[in-house]
């Protein structure tokens, strides 16, 4: 078998060599298709890297628990993008938070219960303000800095609040808002601190802390009938124990929830920023569009192969007369189209990166080079070669040797 493949490889390369110009042109079709795919993948990869370096500085030991309704991945991706999941019904409870807190390797745990509601100060009301019920671990998890005052401390007093920078500015006109009070949910809250400006509206919490009010979740659970925990942020003691923590949390939660898989655990910095999934959707759409040009290239290869088959009818007849079976002829032509498309793929890979580098000269991000992209282009061009080579090869293989030998061109 190896000998057969080797032989046909040589045959195909030889016959492609004899038609250099034609080989180059038909490979160029594939090259352009592959180049556009490489361009898109490397540029979106570059953008992703840019976002990654900006948003997750040290998220390697972060673990998130989110409610899940067991939907398809694409659905939850859309949910994530539209923030729909944050307002959906959650099955996470404070009990779960306690369970997680007791897990070995977990350093900080903070639940996030986000609601969009109205707060009132004296007789003025501020509609649709983000109120995040959480605990004092959040400061350590997110590395929040205070402009003034202090963070939530349940032991100190339960009805306290920390304001986001913008909220403090808007509502009280100052960032020195400590000891001011406001009403929310029929309770009076006292401001104990104001956060520093963060200016990072897109993050894995789905909360713009500059425009939020943080309150104690334990206190919130006393006056709100059902508290909806959208997310539990966990920071482990070291990055090495992340996997262990995930598996033991999984074990514990499935025990307490009696097997209901209504939550999901997310780790790794890649998955933590929602913008990444947005870009991956866009890049996959673009790739889909670019693959149309790949199909055009494939049709070009098929066309050339058909011409080649009819030009070489006599050769096929001779080969069959001296003992080639239909399979031999099929393989010979299939290898030819495969080599054509692989040459095209390589050309496209190089061409795509050249373009990407040219573009990166005027944009802030560098093209992303990875083995995956090379793998994808290789696989795609090979598939195209086989897909569009089968028909001409089959046509060659089924030629009648007697008629082929009589063929004059």
């Amino acid at each position: 078998m190896r000998l057969l493949v080797n032989t046909h490889l040589h045959l195909a390369i030889d016959s492609l060599r004899q038609n250099r110009g034609r080989t180059f042109l038909s490979a160029l079709g594939i090259a352009i298709g592959v180049a556009s795919i490489v361009l898109i993948l490397s540029l979106t990869g570059g953008i992703n890297q840019l976002i990654g370096t900006n948003s997750d500085k040290n998220n390697a030991n972060l673990v998130l628990v989110r409610p899940s309704n067991g939907k398809e991945i694409t659905d939850s991706l859309i949910d994530e993008l539209t923030n729909a999941s944050q307002y959906s019904k959650s099955n996470l409870t404070l009990e779960d938070v306690k369970v997680i807190k007791e897990t070995e390797g977990v350093e900080y745990v903070a639940p996030l219960a986000i609601s969009n509601s109205t707060i009132t100060i004296a007789d003025r009301s501020y509609e649709s303000t983000n109120v995040v019920a959480t605990n004092n671990d959040l400061q350590n998890i997110l590395d929040l800095h205070l402009k003034s005052g202090q963070f939530l401390d349940y032991s100190l007093r339960e009805n306290v609040a920390v304001l986001g920078y913008n909220v403090a500015e808007q509502v009280f006109g100052t960032t020195e808002a400590a000891t001011r009070t406001f009403n929310y949910g029929g309770q009076q809250f006292m401001v104990v601190g104001v956060l520093d400006e963060i200016n990072d509206p897109i993050n894995f919490n789905g909360v713009d802390f500059d425009n939020s009010i943080l309150i104690n979740i334990k206190f919130a659970s006393t006056f709100e009938s059902s508290i909806q925990i959208q997310q539990i942020d966990i920071r482990t003691s070291t990055t090495d124990v992340v996997d262990n923590v995930v598996s033991s949390i999984n074990e514990k939660l499935s025990k307490t929830k009696k097997g209901d898989k209504d939550y999901k655990i997310i780790t790794g910095s890649d998955e933590l920023h929602p913008a990444g999934s947005m870009i991956s959707i866009i890049s996959s759409m673009l790739t889909l569009v670019a693959s149309i040009s790949l199909i055009v290239g494939g049709v070009g290869i098929m066309n050339i192969m058909l011409v080649s088959v009819s030009e070489r009818t006599r050769e096929i007849g001779i080969r069959k007369a001296v003992g080639a079976s239909s399979g031999h002829i099929l393989l010979q032509f299939l290898f030819e189209s495969m080599i054509l498309s692989i040459i095209g793929g390589l050309m496209g890979f190089i061409l795509g990166y050249v373009f990407a580098f040219l573009i990166s000269l005027v944009t802030p991000f560098a093209p992303h080079i990875s083995w995956q992209i090379l793998g994808i282009t290789g696989a795609v061009s090979l598939t195209v070669g086989i897909l569009f080579g089968v028909y001409p090869a089959a046509k060659a293989a089924h030629k009648d040797p007697i008629a082929s030998l009589k063929f004059y061109r």
């Binding site: 032989t7 001296v322 003992g323 079976s325 239909s326 007697i402």
Partner: protein, 334 residues
């Protein structure tokens, strides 16, 4: 008797080839019976459209008989799969065509080694074998020429080398001299005769009655049936290589080249014998080809073609082939 059975290479039993259906039905071959013994040199003659080429194609497993049985080397191959037929073609059958049929974009050595690809030889081995056989045909210096750089006669010799390389049990030649001038046809016939004298079996289709002198058996076909079938050499006198074995390429001895030297417009010297080209062509337009003087007389005899004279001829031929056989054996021993 196993030995006798071994001697029969090809057996066609009431083979018919039908084209078309119903009213348009016509037969290229009709209940054709043929037994070919090892070492025979068969010439098939007949008018155009009498089924000669169809017969050759069926024997060469390129075509399939409509009905009948075909036994090749003791195996019934009339109903084997296409892949098996291809394998038979690669190993048992060598083709020589009127139009040479070399692959135009392959060099001479690659063309010669073509059949070996499909018998599963490695490239170096293929090229070495092709090199050996081309040396025998004195084309070694032109191994890496392309076919279009060679003359018609040289191309046909390349084609003969190709037909021999896989060491087939039978060589099928479809008017191998049809596209050649008389000088080159002569050379080609000399090559074929030498191959035959080494024990190879050859079936050749021709229009040229002058060539029948080379044959050990002449079959005249008419409308898909055998008209006459004349054996000029007894089966027992057929050249043979060893105990009914095929002639191996390796056994082919290196020998003096068939040299041509042009003396004048009319005369050439082929292998040291003076040959006239002009006279022959004028004498009979059928005989396109030049021959050695002694052969010329034979050719004329054949044209008269009566079984009485054939017997004498046979004796002469047998002697000749015997001599050649001895020669080759001597050379082998050397």
């Amino acid at each position: 008797m196993p030995n006798q059975e071994n001697d029969t290479i090809i057996e066609l039993k009431s083979v018919s080839k039908r084209y078309g259906f119903g009213d348009a039905e016509s037969y290229a071959l009709r209940n054709f019976d043929l037994t070919v013994k090892r070492g025979e040199f068969i010439m098939i003659m007949g008018p155009s459209g009498c089924g000669k080429t169809t017969l050759l194609n069926i024997i060469g497993l390129l075509d399939k008989a409509s009905t009948g049985e075909y036994i090749l080397g003791g195996k019934d191959v009339s109903r084997v799969s296409a892949n098996k037929k291809a394998r038979f073609r690669a190993k048992e059958i060598g083709f020589i065509f009127q139009s040479f049929n070399l692959v135009p974009n392959l060099s001479i050595i690659e063309n010669v080694s073509l059949p070996l690809i499909y018998s599963g030889y490695r490239k170096t081995r293929r090229l070495r074998m092709a090199d050996n056989i081309l040396e025998h045909f004195h084309l070694r210096e032109r191994e890496y020429y392309m076919p279009y750089q060679l003359s018609g006669g040289q191309q046909q010799r390349v084609a003969i080398a190709r037909s021999l390389i896989a060491n087939p049990s039978i060589i099928l030649a479809d008017e191998p001299t049809g596209n050649l001038d008389s000088r080159n046809s002569h050379i080609i016939m000399e090559e074929l005769q030498e191959i035959h004298s080494l024990g190879n079996t050859i079936i050749m289709v021709t229009h040229n009655p002058a060539l029948t002198t080379y044959a050990t058996r002449v079959i005249n076909m008419l409308d898909g049936e055998i008209d006459t079938d004349i054996k000029t050499v007894a089966d027992s006198e057929l050249p043979r290589a060893g105990k009914g074995e095929k002639v191996s390429v390796k056994v082919l001895p290196s020998r003096k080249p068939i040299e041509m030297e042009i003396i004048s417009d009319d005369d050439v010297v082929v292998s040291g014998k003076k040959v006239s080209t002009k006279k022959d062509e004028k004498e009979s337009d059928k005989a396109e080809k030049t021959k050695k003087p002694e052969k010329d007389s034979k050719a004329k005899k054949t044209e008269k073609a009566k079984s009485d004279s054939k017997k004498k001829e046979k004796d002469e031929k047998t002697k000749k082939t015997d001599d050649k056989k001895k020669e080759s054996k001597k050379e082998d021993k050397k």
